[in-house]
Amino acid sequence: MHGVSNSNIDLKFLIGGPQGGGIESAGQIALKTFVLKGYQVIGTREYQSNIMGAHSYFTIRVKPERPGAINFPVDAATVLDAESVLTHFTDVKKDGFMVYDSSTIKTKIKTIAPMPKPLKERLIKFFEERGMEPTAESAVKVAEENGVKTIGLPMRDLIRKVASETSAPLSRVSKTLNTIGLATTLYLLGVEPNWIEKAIATHFAAKKKVVDMNILAARIAIEYVDEHYGGPCCFLPEGPHLGKETMLATGNEIVAMGKVVGGLTMQTYYPITPASDEALFLEGHRNFELAPWAEEVLRLKKLGAVVLQTEDELSAIMSALGAAVAGARTSTSTSGPGFALMNEAISLAIMAEIPVVITVWQRGGPSTGLPTREGQQDLLHTLFSGHGDNPKIVIASGDHIEAYYDAIKALNWAEKYQTPVIHLVDKYLASTITSLHREDIDPLKATVERGKFVENPGKDYLRYKITEDGISPRAPMGKVPLTWTGLEHTEDGMPTEDPIVRDQMIAKRRRKFETIAREIPDSEKVVLHGDPDAKITLVSWGSTKPIILEAMKLLEKEGIKVNFLQLRLFYPFPVKPVLDVLTNAELVIDIEQNDLAQAAFLIRGYTGFTIEHFVKKLTGRALWDTEVAHAVKRIVETGEKEVVVSGGA
């Protein structure tokens, strides 16, 4: 199946099934299996805006070093219901395999209620054109014709067997359906059963009964496969990280971790996908013990952070601002629709100079749009949010590690510069799990800064003191009388409409942004990946980073050498570093997951440089490294202006 050396290992597989059917749990067990085996992984979930019943799937990639992207076709697919079979039968590569439930294979397409109508229509047409019945069985046949090895599991029988070997009722045993499918797949991919069992035990941890039942189910599945399909050709070698402690975290979780490490003391939120898991994770860890080095300094053992669920996003941002003026280190977290409601408050935070971090988990718009799908459409909206002349810091993270450190940095910047910091992340990052090692998120690499936070202001304290760097000392409430305001004001926070003071205060706020632009090092503004002398430059931002880095390797193999300008800080915009790179390139290709090519617009607006070529993905599905590579290649070869990719069910 694959060689004995682990360095060529590159496994991709998917698990599909109805929402609420344990897809995510199976995906996590799989990730844990490979991590235990010494590999690095990513896994990402595609799901609809639905709680139960609609199709969703989890895609995994396994490599010796951290994989940067998923792509299709996969080596293996676990597709245990008819809808999954029909959704994914062309997603498996030649010589790969597809594990399905042979007992539901006769299902007719038109009877599958949750299946999206347009897909139904396309499938029916597809089979009709081939003279085949519109059923799941036909899909299995087509897969076989395409050289895919299909593994039919008689799920009804296997489940019954599990039930008969435990005393558990069938309804509970049915929940092992995914384990059966998953264990089969993992086993056929060359994972020894003991690793699978260890992963199951790790995953369900304390729940002994569940562990036992799932291990039994896995054994029964493996037995069946051995008997009927002869098992795998050979076993997967151990990966290079065997025995290494590994974190498996989603983007939501890693940002929450960054916030806690970064000294967040209060987070407000109103639930929204794909943001709220961040806040819920925070809430689950709101009480914490201090690390030894901190305990020693502070002589404190425990502390806590407040996570406040508010009545809406207006309240989320306003109570965050309230907490900030009181002296808390504060953030809120939302997605596009929620951020839209925060616009007026952003404007207040800028005028009143209130520090706050707003983590924006972008998703597919406009409006409710594709609420559980990927989107990178909120760059312009967040950057130009709020009425009035409204500069604010906007930073976008490219991957989990950046997101973790950016969360810390955003809190630092917010307090140092007394301004809202918008931290742009997205659904793909939110729901992608990756493996991380200790050096990736080392707490001692982070510093926590508060800038001109004065705990003991004097009596002559002036909230809006005019200073050379544009930054006035910030005192918490509760020390001396002071005034904050959203009206134009004199140094003491009293409102004024005096034209001369107005001009002075505008100039003060402008100087603050000059300070920010100067103090943030270029290296935190943009990153040029790859050979600086490459003739072709790819430009992108956000969670496309690791995907593009993978694509670069693919392109290199095809003899196309590119470098990649990753935009990190959008405001203050790094004009020179960006221009330096772009004017050096012969061909610049912008890669974004929005239709307006928002970053390219900003580049032109801030630098005058015009990008002429675009790769876009708008379907809300994860971007693949292969898609990027193909699209870039096509542009290089044909000079096409725009390539829209759309892979993924």
């Binding site: 952070a305 406040l308 009181a326 409430m477």
Partner: protein, 310 residues
């Protein structure tokens, strides 16, 4: 030693129209603060936008002038971040019961210990006299191009339905009585409302000083045994009928005073303390965030649930 009301005055020009009820409210508040001897350094006043919203510039304390309708959520953040502060949220009827009614209602679910003061002139003063949410339908005040088509809200009943645990109504020109109501509201542990009937001589030419003074009376003057406290289920059964009747009374007679006090509910701060043991001592605004610039936690310990151990 005790402070005088002058200690709560700033030297800003108070920019209200001559005869505006806001002067009385401001004065009552200054005096309440003085009599409670609240340290201005520990006092927070959050105001929304409107004539009334300007109050924050006339009160010595930690003040913040925020957005129209958003005084309550701002105050919420402040109080939660530092529960030792005395926090007052102030605004007009439009601010609190129009654009801000979202928060006016929702704070009731928390019983957070803040005092909400509504300057109720039944018009949108600062935007030149449009109908406010407490202006009865078919009345046409000076600046309206036609009669008001909206019914008036009853702030007291709304507060009750929302969960406020202290509900009172005062009258702007009765500085002494209003001062007492504000004092009680501030002293009350939990979310308290003081609706203050406030003549606006410039735009509300119907609900004038005379109009009010013909109608208002004090609950505890009419009934010396008036006791708004609801402490038990029995109290609830015995008193709610009368309390609701008084809350609903609005017309030829308008009652003033404390309508309702409920001491049975935990404040939000107390609730937070139950789930975050270190909250009282180290609330968000008063907590270390680093140890000499280094983080306080080790994610590999705190987030052990995310770590796969070999």
């Amino acid at each position: 030693m005790a402070r005088s009301w002058l200690d709560y005055k700033t030297d800003a020009w108070v920019q209200w129209c001559p005869g505006c009820g806001n002067f009385g409210i401001l004065n009552a508040l200054h005096r309440a603060l003085a009599e409670l001897d609240i340290d201005p350094s520990n006092l927070v006043v959050v105001t929304g936008i409107g004539c009334s919203g300007r109050s924050c510039y006339y009160i010595k304390g930690n003040t913040i002038h925020v957005l129209h309708g958003r005084a309550i959520p701002t105050a919420t953040g402040i109080k939660i971040a530092n529960p030792e502060l005395t926090v007052i949220a102030e605004g007009g009827d439009g601010d609190m019961l129009g654009i801000g009614v979202e928060h006016f209602v929702s704070i009731g679910r928390r019983n957070l210990d803040i005092t909400v003061i509504v300057h109720d002139n039944a018009v949108y003063g600062l935007t030149k006299g449009q109908a406010g949410p407490t202006l009865p339908s078919w009345w046409q005040t000076k600046a309206l191009p036609g009669p008001n088509l909206h019914d008036n809200l009853n702030p007291l009943l709304l507060a009750l339905a929302s969960g406020y645990t202290f509900i009172a109504r005062g009258y702007a020109y009765h500085v002494k009585e209003t001062k007492e109501l504000i004092k009680k509201a501030i002293e009350h542990k939990g979310t308290s409302l003081v609706q203050i009937l406030q003549p606006c001589p410039t735009y509300n030419n119907i609900m004038t000083k005379d109009w009010y003074e013909e109608r208002i009376y004090y609950l505890d003057q009419e009934d010396p045994n008036w006791d708004p406290q609801v402490a038990s289920i029995d109290d609830f059964k015995n008193k709610m009928g009368t309390i609701l009747e008084k809350m609903l009374e609005w017309g030829d007679k308008i009652p003033l005073g404390v309508f309702y006090v409920n001491l049975a509910k935990d404040t939000f701060e107390q609730r937070l303390e139950k789930v975050i043991p270190t909250y009282r001592e180290y609330p968000p605004a008063k907590r270390p965030v680093s140890a000499n610039g280094k983080p306080l936690v080790d994610p590999w310990i705190l987030f052990a649930d995310k770590v796969v151990k070999p």
